[in-house]
Every structure is written in C-alpha cells, then in structure tokens.
C-alpha cells in the first residue's frame, strides 16, 4: 500500500495536435488529505482532474488509482468510487433535491433505510433542513443551496476520493465563507482523499493540506502550504500568493 491515492506518470494531452494542454505531468496525490490543483485559467488543472475519472483520456502516460492502472473498461464502477462536484452545481433540473442526492444510492441497490439515514446525515452536515428542501426542485434554490446539495450528492456513496472542480467559485464571498466552514467540518467528520481544483490561492491555503501549482500544463511547484508560502518557486507562484493576501 502506497501513501498516494492517484498517481500521474508523464501524462500528456492535447486537443489540437502540437498545442498540448497537459505537458508530461508526473505527480502523486497523497491519501486522506485534500490536495489543491492551483493555477490560472488555461493552466490545465481542470483537464488533469477529468483525467482522474476518465472523462478525459490522456494521449500518453499512465494514471494509477488506488495502486492499479485506471480501468477504462468499466468507468461507471470507477466513477461511483469518486464523488464529483463542479462550479455551477449541475443539479438535474427535473429531479427534487432528494432524488438528486439519492439517485446513485438507489441504483446501487442500497436499502431505503440506509439511503434515508445517510441522506439525513449529509443534509444536517450541510445545514439543509430536510423538511424544507427535500421536495424542492433546483430552480427554486439559491446558488449556495445548490452547491451544498451538489456536495451532498458527491458524498452520498461515501466515496474514498472526491473530485471538486471549482465548486465554490461562482458564489458570493459571504456564502463562500460559510460553505468553506462547512467543508472544513465535512473534512473532519469524514476524513478522505480530495482533489480540489481552484484558481484562488487563498481558498487552496485554507482548505488544502497539499498544493500542486500548475502553469501552461506543467507543474511549477508542489508541497505543503507553509512550504510554498515560505519559498515560492518563481514569479508566477509569487503572483498567485500575492493575490491570496490581498
């Protein structure tokens, strides 16, 4: 058993031949911690995240998940072990909050009691009173409420790994601050591996225990937040850090 949950080995990806978006990335994502992939837009952080759950297939290189090469033959099974939450929430508009969160559990054959127990626990964790929210449709929720529901959906199957693609970016600062607090509570309540994509260094500093900083499809620096703060590798990292302080 290694201490990494995901490992990239010289991963290379381009959409248009000759202009790669991921240029030979090698990295290990530590287990049971929150790792932030930080970078400006176009740095390839989101693409790298989608390589983990097979939404994007690399041109060359290998991806290992839980000490085994990623199995492209049965992606649905792989993905049910990875929670996924994105910017804009992406809730299904024709399903109630309850259905959005519990769909996968019922398809996985969970018992009704197990589903309701886990559902009630998650809603409480994210401060969504079930009586008020269960039967609502997404269009009747605020942006912050939608994002909380989307986190519940990602957590429902109790996945060993969570993939989070800028889930807090579209929220107003006050809502974002309060969801950050809930997220930290959630990390403490259920310790697990998480990969958080963000362009916001302050968010990364606050929520992650390990940073991987990307620029133009390549890693410029990685390490614990304190290390990065103490010795930024170049002007790009400094710029990201200064943005975090202001």
């Amino acid at each position: 058993m290694s201490d990494s949950c995901v490992e990239f080995q010289d991963v290379y990806k381009s959409w248009v031949p000759g202009t790669p978006v991921i240029k030979g990335v090698s990295a290990r994502i530590p287990k049971d911690l929150t790792t932030a992939l930080v970078g400006e837009s176009g740095s390839g952080k989101s693409t790298l995240l989608q390589i983990v759950n097979g939404l994007v297939v690399p041109d060359t290189g290998a991806v290992w998940v839980d000490d085994a090469p990623l199995d492209y033959g049965d992606l649905p099974r792989l993905r049910r072990r990875m929670g996924y939450a994105v910017q804009g929430a992406g809730l299904f508009p024709h399903m109630t909050v309850h259905r959005n969160i519990t769909l996968m559990a019922s398809l996985e054959g969970w018992s009704v009691e197990a589903i309701e127990q886990r559902y009630a626990y998650l809603l409480e964790l994210l401060e969504l009173p079930p009586a008020e929210f269960s039967d609502r449709y997404p269009h009747a929720l605020s942006g912050g409420q939608q994002q909380r529901v989307s986190l519940c959906r990602a957590m429902m199957l109790n996945p060993p790994l969570m993939l989070l693609d800028e889930p807090f970016s579209a929220l107003d600062p006050i809502t974002r601050a309060s969801i950050h607090q809930e997220f930290i509570r959630l990390q403490r309540a259920e310790s697990r591996s998480m990969i958080l994509v963000t362009h916001d260094m302050s968010e990364a500093m606050k929520l992650a225990q390990y940073l991987i900083i990307l620029k133009d499809g390549d890693i410029v620096q990685q390490g614990e937040p304190a290390e990065v703060q103490a010795g930024p590798a170049d002007a790009y990292v400094e710029k990201l850090l200064s943005g975090a302080e202001s």
């Binding site: 759950n53 939404l55 992606l75 649905p76 099974r77 792989l78 993905r79 049910r80 990875m82 996924y84 994105v86 804009g88 992406g90 299904f92 508009p93 024709h94 769909l103 996968m104 398809l107 449709y137 269009h139 959906r153 990602a154 993939l163």
Partner: protein, 495 residues
Amino acid sequence: MKRCLALLVLLFASFTVTAAERAIVVASKHFNENYVLAEIMAELLEGHGYKVDRRYNLGGTLICFKALQGGEIDVYPEYTGTIGQAILKIDDPAPGEAKLNRLLSPYGVSVLPSFGFNNTYAIAMKQTLAKKLGVRNVSDLARHPELKMAFSHEFMDRKDGWPGLSRVYGLKGHPEGIEHGLAYQAIHQGKIDVTDAYSTDADIARYHLASLTDDKHYFPQYYALPIVSDDMPAGAKRVLSLLAGRIDEDKMRELNAEVVVHGKTFAQVASQFLTEEGLVKSGGGGSRLWHSIAINTVRHLKLTAIALVLGCLIGLPLGVLVFRSPGISRLVVYIAGLMQTIPSIALLALMIPLFGIGQVPAIIALFLYSILPILRNTITALITIDPLLKRISEAIGLTRIQQLRYVLIPMAMPTVLAGVKTAAIISIGTATLAAFIGAGGLGEPIVTGLALNNTNLILQGAIPAACLAIIAELMFEGLERLIVKPHMRAATLPE
C-alpha cells in the same frame, strides 16, 4: 347423434365458405357521373347477394387502371375513348368493345357491354333557338354564320376540338374563347348562341339546351362501360351486364341532374334508377349521415393513430441512437426532411405502384410524414441538453443506458412531446388526402364534395377533421401537464 354432428359440421363448413367469399371492390374516379355509375353497379351487385366494398374517389384514370390491374379493385366505370387514348395509346377515335377486349387481355382486364351512352363533346344551343332556325345537326350550323359562337379554351386548342370541327363541317366564323363554367350562363342570357358541352352534362337539361347531332361522326367516342378485372367472379360480371344499354344520353343527363341540381345522394339516385328499371326490389338509400360521419371518423383515427404509433416506434429510438454523432444526426434529419418536401398527394400516388391502394399505402405515407417532426425534435432535444449536465451524468457513474433513462430522456421529454404533437396534427390533416387512394376516412366526403361542389358534403369531412385536430392538440397539452413538471415545460406564450 351422429347425424346431428354431421349437420353441425355442414353448417360450420357452409358458414366458413360464406365468410371466405370475398367482397367485390367497386371503385370510381372523383367526378359526379362516375360516382353515380359506380353506385348503381354497387347496389345492383348487393341486390344480387354480393358483398360490396366501395372505393370511391380514386385520383384519376391511371390510378384506377393500375389498381384494377393489380387486383386491388374489381370494377369501375370507364369510357371507350379514354381507354383507347390514355391507357392503350391507340390512334382510333371510335374503338369498339371487341377491339378493346383484344388489346386489354394482356393486362388481365376486360370491358363489359356499354351502359348505352356516349359522353363526348357536344355542340349545344338553346332549344328554342334551334327549333326556330331548324338546326338539328352540326352540319346545319354552316348555314347560319350569323350565330355567335364561344368555346371553352381547351376546346379551342385541342386537335379534336374547334380546328378539326371547322374543317370537317366547313364552319366559318371566329368563335371566342370562354371559361367553360361561364358558357352556360352566357348562352342562357343570350350573349352567345353556340358553345361546346359534354353530352351528358346535367347543365344541358338545366338550361334547356339542344345537343346537336354529330352527323359526320367527327368527335371521338366515349361510350361508358364497366371495366373489370379478370379475377372478378363470372357471376358478378353477368350481373353487371344487366346494365347494358339501359342508360342513354338523356337518362344519364337526368341522373346527373338528380345529384348536381336536385341535391340527392348517389345512393338515392342509384336505388331509384335500379327500382324503376326493375333490377332490384325497393332500395335503401336513406339518410345515414351520422352513421357515415362516425364510420369516416373512426377510419380517419385509425389511419392517423397507426401512422403516429409507427412514427414514434421508429422515430424515437432512431433519434436516441444517432444523436451522439452530429454527422449521422444531420444526415438522418436531412433525409427525413427531404421526405417532407414531397407534396402529400405525390407521395400518396408514389405509394400505389409499391403498395397498391387502400389503407396500407396511406398509413405508410402518413408514417413517412410523421417521422420528421418526431425525429428532429428528439435529436434537437437530446443534443441541446446543457453539456455540463451531460458531463455530470457521466461523472457520477451512470451507465449509458442509465444516462438516457434518468437524465437525457426526461430532460428531452417536453420537446419530444411537442414533436409527436406536430406529427399527430400533420397526420390528421394529411389523412384527408388519403381518400384519393381509396383509404377512406374524413377525406372521403371532402373529395366527393369538392368534385360535386357540394358544400354540405365538404363540411361533413372538414368539421370532424378540424375537431380531431383540436382534440389532439388539447390531449397533448393534457399529457404534457401530466408528465412534465411545470418548470421543465417548453417555453410557452405569455398568458
């Protein structure tokens, strides 16, 4: 006991024989005289114990003849000149029945003895004027160059119209061209003296005109007779031969006038004629208005419903199958769209050589029409779903089938339903044209009414068809309310 059993078997056998005895299919072209003759034949056959299936309103000579040749119908009224020129394409203005039968035998078709009248071009003038001038034959006109002549545009142009007529009879003068529909009015008001007509036209009697004798036998002969398929039972042919020579020009004119001028139904005119001639005992022919509307509506619903169900069964899965590939989607929608550009009457006509006449080709044509809106809406709905939601439905671990079932199809439903609704309403409208190929339905009274300029009859088809379309619209709205959440409904007009 044994005897009882034998009797039972015999009874059963005789019953199956009766049931197996097929109906005689009587057809007609869509103009008044043809309807009357067809109905006379149909009722005569019924009077002799035959079961009759009526397929009136067939689109024209070639459709009728093809259907006859293909065994779709058994008999319809035709004219010797038409058989010679339009079907056999021979250059003989007066082909006899024996000659026609010789030439028709390779087609598996023959003619029976003529009803007895010749419906050809006629030269007509007011009876009073003709009597005064002593004009009885066309050749008499040469002595009266002062008479004002006006002929229909077609008659002025046709080789067998005025150019030949003036040469053969040595007529001088410069007739004017006139709209055929206006000629009778004009002659009635004395604005013109002489015009062309069809010899059995009801209007000749209505306006008290004299039809001059074609004493030099210039006009081609159009003797009316039953043209029958060789498959028709010999007994039925013998029954129809009873009509030989029973209807002369005056009689046919009178029968036509009964319908066109006095507004009687074909059934009334036919049964009255057959009773008078002693060919059947008192006929039915009463008003069966509601009954016929009900039958036509049910038939209409059947045509559109089957076509729509087929359209859904093919269109929905096909749309789901191809939407992930933009290239194939475009191609499929393009082909379905091309189908839509074929005029409906042309598409129906195209069905005849492939599937004959009746309900099957009509349903196939309606199905081809209904498939485009269903297919286009299904594909459009599926490809325009928010790409983020498509990505998430994959990323949370739904299989392809589950993505369709739980996310894509429910989200596409409002647009798909709108497509099915459009298809339903197009089908209800287009199905009225199916009467032209003998499929029946609400087009039947419309087509007949158009041919006879009978508004009553047109409305008997048009009103129920319009009601059906409105009911379909309301039903689909209800269905949408039932299965689509309010916030998911397709954009609606502001209330």
